[in-house]
């Protein structure tokens, strides 16, 4: 079964030599598409394309979906009330969520290590923005912790990218992903922990508390962006 289906799929894929000498890796398959911006060449592979579509879907959902109204029950009675988000806050959160979605798509497409780290920092700051709009003191406390983490996360991120450049002489993933170029483990580790801090993917504590904030489609973007960028950095680190 595997053989038959693999054969049919590879036959249907166009095999084209790319101008950047990056046709196929053992990790994510064929590059589908590239978009050069000078030295920074963005690209999509089947793997990143999946992530891209997912990010796009959730950005559109954030754009068109109205926030939910959280129900709070009042203890000692049958009463309950719903929390409504003010129009101003809603607009702000929606703006931030969309910016976050765009940053995520940028990070997914990035074909340059430093560009990727910048997009990751961008995600960090939009995430802070989304939660900072909430007035609840507990959530703000957590947002502050989250923000501190995003700030110190820029150190491993940028130092990681700088080390990649220093040890290989390039930042382009097209070159870094080829087997001839070796990136030291230290740089890879720095990149991963940097993304962990920015996107807070597995740093769960403050993020779980942040989830209490109302505005589901926007809060969800925090998670979408952090998980997607985390998936991307794993791909980058493994490919390098």
């Amino acid at each position: 079964m595997y053989e038959a289906m693999t054969a049919s799929v590879t036959a249907s894929m166009p095999v084209s030599e790319s101008a950047y000498g990056f046709t196929q890796t053992d990790i994510e398959g064929q590059a589908l598409f590239s978009l050069p911006f000078g030295d920074i060449v963005n690209f999509l592979t089947p793997y990143t394309a999946v992530l891209f579509v997912f990010a796009l879907t959730f950005t559109i959902i954030a754009l068109i979906s109205k926030p939910e109204r959280q129900v709070d029950t009042v203890m000692g009675g049958d009463a309950y009330y719903t929390k409504d988000i003010s129009r101003e806050t809603l607009r702000f959160q929606r703006f931030m969520a969309i910016a976050c979605g765009l940053a995520t798509m940028g990070g997914i497409m990035a074909g340059d290590v430093f560009n990727f780290t910048l997009f990751t920092a961008f995600i960090g700051i939009t995430n802070i923005g989304i939660v900072a709009a909430v007035k609840n003191k507990h959530i703000l406390d957590n947002a502050f912790e989250y923000g501190l983490l995003a700030m110190i996360g820029t150190l491993p991120l940028f130092v990681g990218a700088a080390l990649v450049l220093a040890t290989t002489g390039t930042l382009s993933m097209w070159i870094l992903f080829t087997p001839e170029v070796a990136v030291p483990l230290f740089a890879k580790l720095l990149l991963v922990i940097g993304v962990i801090a920015e996107g807070m993917a597995p740093v769960f504590v403050a993020k779980a508390e942040i989830t209490r904030a109302p505005g589901a489609p926007y809060i969800l973007m925090v998670h979408v962006s952090s998980l997607l960028i985390f998936l991307r950095v794993i791909e980058i680190v493994i490919s390098m």
Binding site: G38, D39, M96, F122, I152, T168, L171, F186, V205
Partner: protein
């Protein structure tokens, strides 16, 4: 065993410990870094992009990227083919800057940002996307700050 798990999870679940835990992780990674430097794993690649040359006699020192207005400078980019006008932006000086150079031999030390100074085509064109993202980050951060600031005013 169970006690250890409890103890660790008690530290992890306090959000005030978050930065401390992360700082510890960074310190561990930095220690790995020191070890790998000692092991000779991290070596500087001498073949770098956009190498810096310093010409002490140039009035643009230390920001002289070479080239003169409307004559492209010699640039070592990653993908020169992607930007056919390479070298022109770096070589460009505004007429005012050209005039100043003749008067002052230390024009470069003011970190002049005349086009062709610090802001050359690395920032404008070949790696312009970086700068776009960076300005967007600033934009979003300011939006957040202004939003909170203004909401407080009400």
């Amino acid at each position: 065993m169970q006690l250890i798990i409890r103890k660790v999870s008690r530290i992890l679940q306090n959000h005030n410990n978050l930065t401390a835990v992360y700082a510890l992780v960074v310190i561990i990674v930095a220690a790995i870094g020191l070890i790998s430097i000692a092991a000779g794993e991290i070596t500087f690649e001498k073949d770098q992009l956009y190498p810096k040359t310093i010409n002490p006699d140039s009035p643009l020192n230390p920001y002289d990227r070479g080239g003169s207005p409307f004559v492209p400078a010699d640039i070592k980019a990653q993908y020169p083919g992607n930007f056919p006008a390479i070298g022109y932006i770096t070589g460009y000086l505004s007429p005012f800057a050209t005039a100043l150079i003749k008067i002052s031999p230390y024009f470069g030390t003011t970190i002049v940002a005349h086009p062709g100074g610090i802001l050359d085509e690395i920032l404008y064109a070949t790696r312009g996307l970086d700068t776009i993202v960076e300005t967007s980050i600033l934009f979003v951060a300011f939006t957040t700050a202004m939003f909170l600031f203004r909401r407080d005013e009400e």
